[in-house]
Amino acid sequence: MTDRPPVLDWTTDFDHLDPRWVTEPHQIWDELRRQCPIAHTERYGGVYFPSRYADIRAIAYDTEHFSSRRVVVREMPPRAPSGSEKKKSPGAQSTLASPPITSDPPHHRPSRMLLLPAFTPDAISRLEPKTRKICRGLIDRFASDDGCDAAADYAQHVPIAVIAHMLGLPEEDGERFRRWIQLLLHDGIAEDVSFRKALDEMDDYFRQHIAQRRSAGGEDLITFLLKARMADQPLSDEHILGTLRLLLIAGIDTTWSAIGSCLWHLAQHRDDRCRLLSEPALMPTAVEEFLRAYAPVTMARQVAKETTVGGCPFKEREMVLLSFPAANRDPEVFPQADRVVIDRTENRHAAFGLGIHRCIGSNLARMEITVALEEWLARIPDFELTDPASVIWSHGPVRGPRKLPLVFKLTWELRSLLDAR
């Protein structure tokens, strides 16, 4: 990442790529919520940051003034298309048309509706045995060691393997997916070259798979999209490609981040580890609470028409960081918002967004997080951070630990005793 000028005032000059924002965002958001609930920065062409639940909710619902045509705030030099450049989207900056996440009404609904049946609780529960098998296989690799990097060795592999399975893609291509996501959502946030490179590679990859499914068929989501009809017409290749980008990108580092954050929390809270082991029925409320407290995803909107929210004017064309993670920490809505309470029963959190763009993969994410934690705790009941300072958090629209060194506290002997029980 390039050097960025230091932030002098978070209310008027915030930078979501600043190292402090990356490592301790919740403190910054709590301060902003008290001092300036809708912060603004001139960086990135002008960005607003609402931190109150009510304002974030109002913006998520207001698709007339806040468009999803851009959903990520990144350094994006305005570029005139030059002859030497690939003209995939002529005249446009590098964006990632990925219907329905980048669609507004009225185009949004049809492309969303066609995906929804593949992501209902029933459809997702059929993937649970496979997910469990994936988790067990991963844990087998390090369970007898003294520790592991829970982000790199575990969390990231779970959603990669599951989405590869859903899309009918070879599991060994997972490393490629991981690299594209790194380039698109991490490196590509600060510069455009990585972004375009990953996008081109990914599109080429999917075009090959689309062609292959078209001739040979299959039982995966790519085939499902090829058979899908919108207004009695098959989807265009561009539409299919965009949706595949979305499914791959949205399905991976989001859940990987959530699983990592859960393990990061549990590594530092022995009481919660013990409770989940002795009261496994708490898992559903615990998962919702982890999703609330460590919600990984911040989407963005572009102001389509000038308007006012929370008493603050929003200027056309500027961006808004729609921080569901900040909404989830608003003490006006959540008592003890800064505490993780794993048996919290009333939890109206917004981790999967609000309104028409509610994360389509929410059931998938919940299933993966639950299974990943259950399988982990069954094998590695006691663990701690090797060194809190060695944890590295991602920056950009998806927040989670990218390096999470853990030390396993249970000795082999104790573990065998537990196993024998």
Binding site: L116, T120, E288, R348, G355, S362
Partner: protein, 71 residues
């Protein structure tokens, strides 16, 4: 013992976005269509003993789409 009032749950289809929290919390009170959008089972009457589940479903709906009312 005070008489328990009969409750009814209603899902506003214009607000439900398919988070499926109600289905997870109170599977006997809510069912989903093929797109994962929720509606009340039957006419929404809450059987005795499920009142707390109905209230929890209401309190956990991210879209405020569920209302629990006196039947």
């Amino acid at each position: 013992m005070p008489e328990q009032k009969v409750l009814q749950v209603v899902v506003d289809p214009a607000l439900c976005q398919g988070h499926n929290r109600c289905k997870a919390i109170a599977p006997k009170l809510f069912e989903l269509d093929e797109f994962g959008h929720a509606h009340a089972v039957g006419d929404g009457t809450v059987p005795a003993g499920l009142e707390d589940k109905a209230r929890l479903a209401e309190a956990n709906c991210p879209e405020f789409a569920i209302k629990v009312m006196q039947a």
